[in-house]
Amino acid sequence: MTDLALEKTATGTVRRLSPAPFGIGVLLIVAYGVPPLVASEYLFDAILTPFLALALAGLGLNILTGYAGQVSLGSSAFMAVGAYAAYNLALRLPGLPFLLDILLAGLVAAAVGLLFGLPSLRLRGFYLAVSTLAAQFFVQWVFNKVGWFSNDSPSGIVTVPPLSVAGLPLDSSAGRYLFALGVVTAVTLAVWRLVESPTGRALVALRDHETAARVIGIPVLRVKLLAFAVSSFIIGVAGVLWAFAYLRTVEPAGFNLDRSFQILFIVIIGGLASLRGAFLGAALIVVFPLLLARLGEALLGGLFDSGVLEMSQRIVLGLLIITFLIAEPAGLTALLDRAWNRICGRFRRAG
């Protein structure tokens, strides 16, 4: 949380401990400039692009769960809605510019999210969490059963048209990465503005004490639905990236319950109610299976087949969740902050 980065010193002056503006500038330059120069196709297609899509989905869920305090177990349903909406827009209205497709796909996802957010007006806690599973299973079923959405493709798997923006083809690995990065940058900026705004504060107020929020005149119902809509919008856009920039295909099975849990894990591991958290969590979720595979191969050799790998991934992921919840509920964000402060402290003592 950015406002936590401001910390009072004993003398009473406000000093920035967080590297915020400078750091973000450097990060953006690196993100846009370095990979296109050095990265291999593998790095783009297996790590960087899926990382961006998942980070964006985590960001969307964080609005709902981290900031507004409403747990959702059906995030990938909204990814699916976004992906299928963008596919159908591109297919059926070829005249529309793709950026408009993305915006509309996000709006469709927001509308569906609003619909499935309605129970939140009456249910809370576990009851609400379970009810979000309705979205998960219902949406997946619709895309499986209604052939229109996948243009009546017999396998249910459809290939999306090559990515191009304003006549500029972006179908290379680097192009798709840069496109995803552009979208993620824009959305993250908007989300940052949102959580810093009075409406963003209202989300947190709702999470921390709903009754008090109601009493002081926060329109609780409207804010709740807004959280569902905004969150679904962002997750929907993440679904578009997942389909168009990463996989280049769409199929219902890619948006199953495991994907929803994965997004939830990203938020928990990265840190609830933290924008950085979504990125840190997504990085860990994308990278750790690859590391585990390498490690397993090195240690066990032939014994470490794909089945064993899959099971060990499950175990490690589960352990990660439990460990973070117990040892560092504020996630990687807090870990990183503490490390940063320690480094700063050492510098100060040295200087």
Binding site: F126, S312, I321, I322, I326
Partner: protein, 295 residues
Amino acid sequence: MEWQFFTEVLVGGLLSGVMYSLVAIGFVLIYKTSGVLNFAQGALLLFAALTFVSLAERGLPVWAAILLTLAAMTLIGALIERTVLRPLVNQPPITLFMATLGVSYVIEGAAQLLWGTQVHGLDLGIDDLPLEIGGVLISSFDLFAAAVAGAMVAALTLFFRYTRIGLGFRAVADDQLAALAVGLSLDRIWTAVWTAAGVVALVAGLLWGARLGVQFSLSLVVLKALPVLVLGGFDSIAGAIVGGLIVGAVEKLAEVYVGPFVGGGIEGWIAYVAALGFLLIRPSGLFGAKPVERV
């Protein structure tokens, strides 16, 4: 005969509903004592069934396999309680829930790492022949499963009503501090509860395993139990039973009478939608009283 077919569908639904109740009761046991919605219940069920089948396949007599599996379940329960839930005491319930989500990943992974990923057949020695009762055909396996589930529920009810540990359980469910104050040992009660949940997981695992085959998808049975819990309330055994019956009946009836018009396969979500619709009308569930907001 139209009504005959309807009755067959309804009875079939109610009987499979009992199987849902059985899974849901495992949740209720844990929820009542520790306030945790234990998502890992499905994984426990998988682990129990997989362990039993694997032991039996290695030539152990059935009673030994059951005892060993039960011991393993108790051990796992105690382990979860000590290493996961206890450090998280006083955390918001939703944090505990997410922790059990993590636990379910660990158990699912471990179960299959330990016993392999192949599908095991499980024969309980019950022929699945249709029985005719009053002109209505009923699956004898379903009937057997329902009878076992019913016996299970009766046994649990007796246990909690008449044994010291059972009474302690009810005291803890009502008020942990008060239970502590009168000298009930929470350790023993929790151990008992996790053992009971393990027994329920084993029985449910065997019944479901005989029906679906013992394999990974067994742990997804948890997803059938959740709408049941939403309907009946997370803390009511009676609610779990009635909720299970309703969900079973609604699912089967919808599948037969609505399914064909929408392309089938609706059993994945119809229970959720039904539970949701019901909750919107009655937010406190089947048996719950409307809670008074204390501020």
